[in-house]
Structure formats: C-alpha cells, structure tokens
Amino acid sequence: MKIGVCAKITPDADARIKVAADGQSIVLDGVKFGISDYDEYAIEEAIRTKEKHGGEIVSFTVGDASADKQLRSGALALGVDRSVLVTENPGDPLGIAKLLAAAIQKEGGFDVVFTGKSTIDQQNFQIGTMVAELLGWAHVTQVTALEFEGNQFKATRNMDAGIRQVVAGTLPAVISCEDGLNTVRYAKLPDIMKAKKKPLDSVGAGAIGGDAGAARSSVGNLAPPPARPAGRMIEGDAATAAKELVRLLRDEAKVL
C-alpha cells in the first residue's frame, strides 16, 4: 500500500501558552514544539498499516523550516520512509488543506492518507475533511478502529452517548484518527540514527504546484480564559464555618 500521513508541528501539550501583545498570536519564546498528539496516532496507524500490508509511508507537513527536527525524531525515526515539508504559512485552514492536497497529488498513487482528528493548537477539525474533499476521496472522522481488505476499508468511529458507528468504503480514503485508535510507540536508537539519512524534502508551494490562495477566514483575536477568582476563607470555629460552607454551597454555588 502507498500510505500518506499529515502531521503538524504544534506547541507541546504541556507548554504554558501566553497570548502575545498583538492579541492575535501566542508567545513562542521558550515554547517547546512537537508533533500534534492526534497526528502521532496517524503516524502510528500508518506504520501499523505498513507492517501489516507492506508498502511505503510518506508524511506531509505544512510549516516552518525548523520542523525538520521534530519530523526526524517523531516521524522518520518511528518508521515513516520520507517526509515532505511545505515551508509556507497560509492564513487559514483551507490554505493548509490546499497545499497538503497538492503535495499528496503531486506525489500520487496513495491508497490511504491518515490525519489527526484535529490539531492540539488550533482545534479546527477541518484539515482532514477539506483534504478529502479537495482530492475527491472518501473520508471518515474520529476513527478508533480500522481494517483494510483489498480496496475496501472498515472504520469504527465513536459517536456521542458511547454509540459506535462502523463505516465501510472504498479506497483511496482519508482517515482522521482519534485517541484510542492505537498506542504510540517509542523511537529506538538505531532508527533515530537511520532517520538522519532518510529523505526530507523541504519545498515551497511552487514545487508541488500548490497555491494556498487568499485566506477566507482570519483570527480576530485571542483571549486567555478569565483568571480564577481568589479562594474565599470562611472564618469562625469548625461548627460555624461548616454551616456557612453548606449555606454557600447551597445558595451561591447551587451544587447541593
């Protein structure tokens, strides 16, 4: 099988995010970056698919030139065969999807492309769907189990209220991966060393015949959540304080 996977470099899940002075971006100083968590499931699923069905894995990233470090350790060292890094910075999700679709088309011949269900920074939930639409392929979102047989696939997705839906379809398809689909493996030392020698093509939009086009949406502003109000101390001896606490829980917090 020829397997594609889309992976974005995002601030680490544990990073302390601060809104920048412009009110539209975040402070990047001191922030560590890694492959977005859901994209890690996509990479793992690509590797498992190759282990089962054979073939080749190519990853696609739209992002900064510095992404090569994370791609080597988080994609190539785990089992991705080649990486394509499109060094552009489109203004909206549609622009990113157009570049990814163009790069996938330029490379050609894919049976399946994996994406995360969303990225942990923007949480747009749009890329997988848009890429599938632009390519004219089948698409399943939030997949938690997956099987291939011939040119058919069967994907399980979790719906609300714990209901599971099984979707069947014909390849090629875009599969957006959800937590629970697999457990991400650790990289091994020899693979990290080999990853240094695997091909990583850094290209501009022109080289893949892509065009992000004018952004159709833009970020208005970012605002941090309101600061948590200070805790309130209840004075008095234990009996009085306990009574007051119960009153507050009932009358103010309305949790009793």
Binding site: D14, R16, G30, S73, G74, V184, Y186, A187, L189
Partner: protein
C-alpha cells in the same frame, strides 16, 4: 499568636510518607520570619517541642510530631527574586513551582528529588535532598548560596558561603563516608553547612537563596535494555568514567537510573516496549553539549561494546518525548504502590549508598532478599532503593531484619546508611551503626548547644533525652 488546636485541622498534619502517626497539641501557620521567631521564642520559653512540617513527603517520619506544636511552612511560600546567578524564595514554596518559575527565565536549579512537585524548597535543603540529576550536579548542598534561619532561641541569623562558625559551636569532627550521603551532622567550617541536612533539629529555615546555572537547551532521554546484569554494570562503569573524565563529552550522562527485572515486569504489564531478553535496564539522560549525532554515535558504540540490547534502546530527542519516557519510569512506583495496597502491608525501602568498588557486592546482597522485592534507583551514585514488599506481619519482620543486615554491610563496605532520605525517626539505629557512639555523643553536644531545651525536630537524627 495562638496555635490552632482543632483536632480536625491537626489531623491533616500528623503523618508523612512514612505512614507513622504522631500527635500534636497545636499548629501554627506563620507568614513571616518574624512570626516564626515569635513562635520559636514561645516554644523555647515553655519548653514545648516544635516540629516543622512542610510537604510531609519525608519517608523517615522526620515531619511527624511526637507531641508539642507543629509549625507549617505552607504560607511562607513567596518567590522573591529570580536573577541570572541566584534565586530567592521563602522556605515553604513547592520546589517544582520554584523550578518552573526559574526555568521560565531560561535558568536552571538542578536538584530534582522525585517528590519535587510535592516537597518544599526549605525541606529539600533541611534534608539535603538529591535526585536523578545529582549524578551530574550533586545533591542540594552545593547549590545553596545563603540561608535565613531562626535558631531555637528565636534569634534570626543569616549564613552565606563565607559565614564562619561561631567559635564556641561544638561542630562534630568525624569522617563522612566518601559516597553520596545525607546522614548525621556534617563536619564543616561553614555555618551554612550546619543548616543543610539537619532535618529541622538545629534551626528553622525561613528563606533561601540558591545558585542557578544554564538551562540545558536539549536533553536526550534513553531507556537501555541489557540481557544480563553484568552488561548493565559494565555500561555504568564505562559511562561513569567517561562522564567524570569529561562532564560535557559525547558520553556524559546526567543521570543513570537502574531498573531490575522485577521493574521490567511491571513496565511490561503497563507500557510495553520491553524486549523479552531484557533482565535489567537503565534510564539515562544526556544533555546535548555537542551536536546530537556525536552524542548518539558515542552512546551507540558504548552500548554495543558493553553487550546491551542496543537495537532495542528507546530514545527521545525532544521534551515532549521525554515526558513519555518518564511515563515508562513512573510505571514502576505506580506498580509498587498498587502491590503495597494489595498486600495491605507497608513496604520497606532502603536508601543505602556504597563506593564504586562495592556496587556489585551490595547488589548480590540484595539478591538474598527473603521476600518479594523490586530494585531500582540512582546506580550512577551506587545508590539503589531496594523495596521489600511484605504480605504478612512475619514477612514484614523479616524484611526489617534484612534491612538492618544490609545497613551494617553497607557501612562495612564504606557506604552510607542514608544517601538522600535522611535519618528522621526511623533510622537512628542505623546512624549509630554507621558513626559509632562517640560521634553520636558529638552530635548530641551540638544539638544541646544550639537547642538546650531540645525543642526543634525532637526525635529526628538522635534520640532525645528522657
């Protein structure tokens, strides 16, 4: 100031990670050094024992009061200054919070007890705590720049690296073992040192200034597996020599943490990725001082030469991955705790360190543990924690007796009976085994001189007078 005496409130302060229960008649939660001094004066005047309680993660009952008053440092928690070479905070700040604030400025305070999220800066100094990174950076002691201390008479003193000891203080004269150690009062010429590792018995730390260094830009994390223990020890030897020869070299781990085969079984159950042939593993970190490839090549060569299962080595090259690798390591304490809960019996955990040459001898002694056990820890410092997991009162008694034997053997090998957890109330006998009656007597003289009424940390380090 009046102490809090409500039993419900006090109940939250009567034990620590030793699970030994104490008793107290009152609790103070001061916010300033002056308030601390006032409380201490009152305790001294009324000869009321006063135990400092902080994060209560002590494993030796050091924070457990045996009557008298408790002084909690929880409200002495302001971070006051973070500069380029030093940072200052009140003693009760959580160590992890202090380190986060320092690292946000690109600076680094290395001491990293595993409990750093739950333990305080003051207590980590009062116990001279250490951690995995102590292999490269040493314990807390060398990182302390100055201290503000309230003495047992209520006097507030300041000690920095140049403050000499008042000539009438009877500082004990004895030879500490030449290993990682946090046992007993140090033979020193600096006043600062007297208050590091004294377990709340000689003074109350209210404020500390610590030294900072460069925050390493990148750190590689490894879990290396070995088909035999000998192979693991061969690698420890080689990595340690290389690190000592050049602390910034291509092979210069900042930590070397051992996991025995019982640990690997726990990891197999919980996280996977453990090769079948592995009977031992090392969790290591390497700061990137040269380029990454040079480090990787040096590690690869050393691992192959020592007979490691080099192909199976897990590695992370970024922070996010390192967190994942920590999950691997943390599966072990989690597994042990689960076992302890299931057994319904406390575990018996050792904290012995020995000289390099005695490492394999003490490890062979650990093999003779009479009951189920797990061995892991800071092998770079020849400091492993043997955790004995009794299931019956009889096994508990055998585990304790075995621990006593091991402590005596570690002393005979030139080691320390406590490398990092301190003496508290549970290891006074082991301390006596290590230093002998004469030195205990010297400790007693220093204690009596600085605290004639024996109010501070009563019962820690040495037995109180009747």
């Amino acid at each position: 100031m009046r102490p809090i005496t409500e039993p419900d409130v006090l109940a939250g302060y009567l034990t620590d990670a030793s699970n030994i229960a104490g008793r107290a008649d009152g609790l103070f939660r001061p916010t300033t050094t002056e308030e601390v001094a006032e409380i201490v004066r009152e305790a001294n005047r009324t000869k009321t024992p006063l135990t400092v309680t902080a994060g209560r993660t002590s494993t030796t009952a050091a924070a457990v009061p045996m009557g008298g008053w408790l002084l909690s440092t929880e409200r002495l928690n302001a971070i006051e200054q973070i500069g380029h070479s030093t940072a200052t905070a009140q003693a009760g700040v959580f160590l992890g919070d202090f380190q986060d604030a320092i690292e946000a400025t690109g600076r680094f305070y290395p001491p990293d007890p595993t409990s750093r999220r739950d333990c305080t800066l003051g207590a980590s100094i009062a116990t001279n705590a250490s951690g995995a990174r102590s292999f490269k950076y040493g314990p807390t002691r060398p990182w302390v720049e100055s201290l503000e201390v309230v003495l047992a008479n209520g006097e507030i003193v300041h000690a920095d690296r140049n403050t000499p000891i008042p000539c009438h203080w009877p500082i004990p004269q004895w030879a500490e073992p030449e290993v990682k150690t946090a046992a007993g009062y140090v033979p020193t010429k600096r006043m600062l040192d007297v208050f590091i590792g004294q377990e709340g018995t000689l003074g109350i730390l209210t404020r500390a200034t610590v030294r900072l260094t460069d925050l390493p830009a990148e750190v590689l994390g490894f879990v290396v597996f070995f088909p035999t223990r000998q192979a693991a020890l061969a690698f420890v030897d080689r990595a340690r020599s290389a690190q000592r020869a050049d602390p910034e070299g291509a092979l210069s781990p900042r930590c070397l943490e051992y996991l025995d085969r019982h640990c690997l079984d726990l990891a197999r159950e919980r996280v996977g990725d453990v090769p079948d042939a592995a009977v031992a593993a090392l969790f290591c970190e390497q700061e990137v001082s040269l380029d990454e490839e040079t480090h990787l090549a040096a590690w690869w060569e050393a691992l192959e030469a020592c007979g490691a299962l080099a192909d199976d080595t897990l590695i992370t090259t970024d922070d996010a991955g390192r967190e994942n690798l920590h999950a691997f390591r943390h599966a072990i304490p989690a597994g042990i705790n689960e076992q302890v809960v299931r057994n319904g019996m406390p575990k018996v955990g050792t904290d012995l360190s020995v000289p390099d040459a005695a490492l394999s001898t003490i490890m062979e002694a650990y093999d003779h543990a009479p009951i189920r056990h797990v061995l892991f820890g800071h092998i770079g410092d020849n400091h492993l924690h043997l955790n004995l997991l009794p299931t019956t009162p009889d096994e508990l008694a055998r585990a304790k007796a075995f621990y006593d034997e091991l402590a005596a053997q570690a002393v005979a090998l030139g080691g320390s009976i406590s490398a990092e957890h301190g003496i508290g109330k549970t290891k006074r006998d082991h301390l006596r085994t290590m230093v002998g009656d004469g030195v205990i007597e010297q400790f007693r003289r220093l204690k009596s001189h600085l605290d004639p009424n024996w109010i501070l940390g009563r019962g820690n380090v040495i037995e109180p007078p009747l």
